[in-house]
């Protein structure tokens, strides 16, 4: 019964002593089989939300069900339905990867034979079969993350919580983890609740994205719809010489309002959409304005964040970190 339900959250609140509300009355709904990206800067309330939804932290208010079970009153049922890889890959440095999997499997009630089979299957799936019998203290960050994911999957959960699973990983490890998360969702139908501060990660993996800032969800939709809401793409031109900057700005200004650009460059949001790029090129040519580089940018989730909060995601992370330190 619970297996066909996703995640439903209404007015969820978490307050800490001497601090602002870490999570301030959020509502969200994740459908079964969906990958939901929870995007926001550090300290926005992502991890606190995950801790509440995984029953590790009691909420101060609101309600939530996971797999159809109430997170406050049906904790054991929630925990039996979910897998979770939390922000820090919490592993025992003195145990091997295989021993971790066997311990987790034993606690989930798998038989000895099933523990061995499932352990081997997961080690192969996350590419740790060669390191399986080495102590975890010798693992790299990427290997620990992959083992963490394998541990979350031991009991074949229908809902998976991944709290910033790729933070601190090199690009190769990040890609491997993305591939596995995509496979879990597409092939196994696992519902994934993924928190991230990486725009690209949310864009690549998530069917829908919720953007959280200062404990509140400020936007929620598919990445495409969110970007479409911002609407128009932008064009950025880098003048060939510093003396050409005013001329470039003058030409581009005919095609849309100016927006912040890279140092030395000029950018505008195209009023007529991407099709206006050809007109921009023609106008630059007609006015004999030389440019070193011309680039068309589709709206990004950072543009969405900027639009909704007035800050870019990167800058927001620094602000929130400062606030968190003060609150602590």
């Amino acid at each position: 019964m619970g297996q066909e339900r996703g995640i439903e959250v209404e007015g969820l609140v978490r307050e800490f002593k001497k601090g602002p509300r870490a999570v301030d009355g959020i509502d969200l709904r994740v459908e079964p089989g969906e990958v939901y990206g929870f995007l926001g800067p550090n300290g926005a309330g992502k991890s606190t939300t995950v801790l509440m939804l995984t029953t590790l932290l009691p909420p101060s208010g609101g309600t939530a069900t996971v797999a159809g079970y109430d997170i406050v009153h049906e904790g054991p049922q929630v925990r039996a339905s979910i897998g979770a890889a939390l922000q820090e890959a919490a592993l025992d440095p003195f145990l091997t990867g295989r021993e971790h999997l066997h311990l987790q499997a034993a606690l989930h009630g798998l038989s000895r034979k099933e523990r061995r089979r499932r352990g081997q299957e997961l080690l192969e799936r996350v590419g740790l079969e060669e390191a399986a019998d080495r102590k975890v203290r010798g693992y790299s960050g990427g290997m620990k993350r992959r083992l963490d994911l394998a541990l979350a999957l031991v009991h074949s959960p229908r809902i998976l919580f991944l709290d910033e699973p790729t933070t601190g990983l090199d690009p190769q490890s990040r890609s491997a983890l993305w591939a596995e998360v995509s496979r879990l969702a597409r092939e196994d139908g696992v519902t994934v609740f993924l928190t991230t501060q990486y725009l690209e990660e949310a864009d690549v993996l998530a069917d829908r994205v919720g953007i959280i800032d200062r404990g509140k969800i400020v936007a929620e939709d598919t990445p495409e719809a969110l970007k479409a809401e911002i609407g128009r793409p932008s064009v950025e031109a880098t003048p060939a010489g510093t003396s050409d900057r005013d001329a470039v700005a003058s030409v581009l200004g005919q095609f849309g309002e100016e927006i912040p650009a890279q140092p030395g460059a000029v950018a505008v949001r195209l009023t007529g959409g991407a099709a206006g790029l050809a007109d921009v090129v023609r106008a630059l040519d007609r006015e004999d304005v030389r440019v070193a580089n011309l680039r068309l940018d589709e709206p990004s989730l950072d543009d969405v964040f900027l639009e909704k909060t007035g800050r870019s995601l990167e800058g927001a992370a620094e602000d929130e970190d400062g606030e968190m330190e003060e609150a602590q």
Binding site: A90, L91, F94, E99, A106, L107, G109, H155
Partner: protein, 258 residues
């Protein structure tokens, strides 16, 4: 799935606890070496105490033999408590909490590790003690009872270590309690029989200190033979500590596992 028996869970966690302890040679060596060092130093340095009129034996070595057993139990408890606190600090505890693990299994697993270490310490110390010339008046049967009482004491101390770990979630807090425990041990009849302690306040503290009765229970088996009263008090206090400490740890655990 989700139907792991309590025994399976305790066995899995006990195995983990034991394996991680065995893979830290420094912990094992400290747990075995330091109590024996203190024992050797005390036995040679305080040997003259056995000449005091009324001293229960003419061998201070026999008298002091309870010391390494009690101290080793303390070492084991602090190690286990620190391990549990480390699990809380690192998030490993949360990982376990996300499984259908019963809280009592976590406690059982941890305490099984304490018992395993206590058993090892008891057997090793007994062997070394015999090699050093300790005479166990109660014979082979008494040796088994000494190990049993040592394990019970380790279990009780382990429960106290667990309470500290669960309540504070801090390795530092657990480890900083070690000197306090040490003081409590010294404020007992560990170095002198209670009737020979001259200072009234010290004798009073030693009399109300449960450690004295644990020490005297073990000591009676070494020096006297089978002393029902000393054994009843020793086992009685040990069991009381076990019940209170493990009960307290279980109650503390319920507040941490949602």
């Amino acid at each position: 799935m989700g139907g792991a028996s309590l025994l399976t869970q305790v066995a899995a966690l006990a195995r983990r606890s034991t394996v991680r302890t065995m893979r830290q040679p420094a912990v094992i060596i400290s747990a075995l070496l330091f109590p024996m060092m203190f024992f050797s130093i005390n036995a040679s340095g305080l040997d003259a105490a056995s000449k005091i009129p009324g001293f229960p034996t003419d061998s201070y070595l026999d008298f002091a033999f309870a010391f390494p057993l009690i101290q080793a139990s303390l070492f084991g408890a602090v190690t286990a408590g620190a391990d549990l606190a480390r699990d809380i600090e690192s998030g490993f505890f949360d990982r376990l909490s996300l499984t259908p693990m019963r809280p009592v299994a976590l406690l059982g697993g941890m305490l099984a590790g304490v018992v395993a270490l206590g058993l090892l310490q008891g057997v090793v110390f007994l062997t070394i003690g015999l090699l050093m010339g300790v005479n166990i008046s109660s014979g082979v049967g008494g040796m088994f009872v000494i190990v049993l009482l040592t394990v019970l004491v380790a279990l009780g101390f382990g429960g106290i270590g667990a309470i500290l770990a669960i309540r504070t979630g801090s390795v530092e807090a657990v480890e900083s309690a070690f000197p306090l425990f040490f003081v409590v041990i010294f404020l007992s009849s560990i170095n002198l029989p209670r009737n020979l302690i001259e200072q009234d306040w010290f004798r009073f503290v030693a009399t109300i200190n449960p450690i004295s009765y644990l020490v005297e229970g073990i000591r009676s088996l070494v020096i006297t033979g089978w002393d029902p009263q000393a054994l009843a008090l020793g086992f009685g206090f040990a069991l009381a500590i076990v019940v209170v400490a493990i009960g307290g740890a279980a109650a503390s655990l319920r507040t941490r596992v949602v």
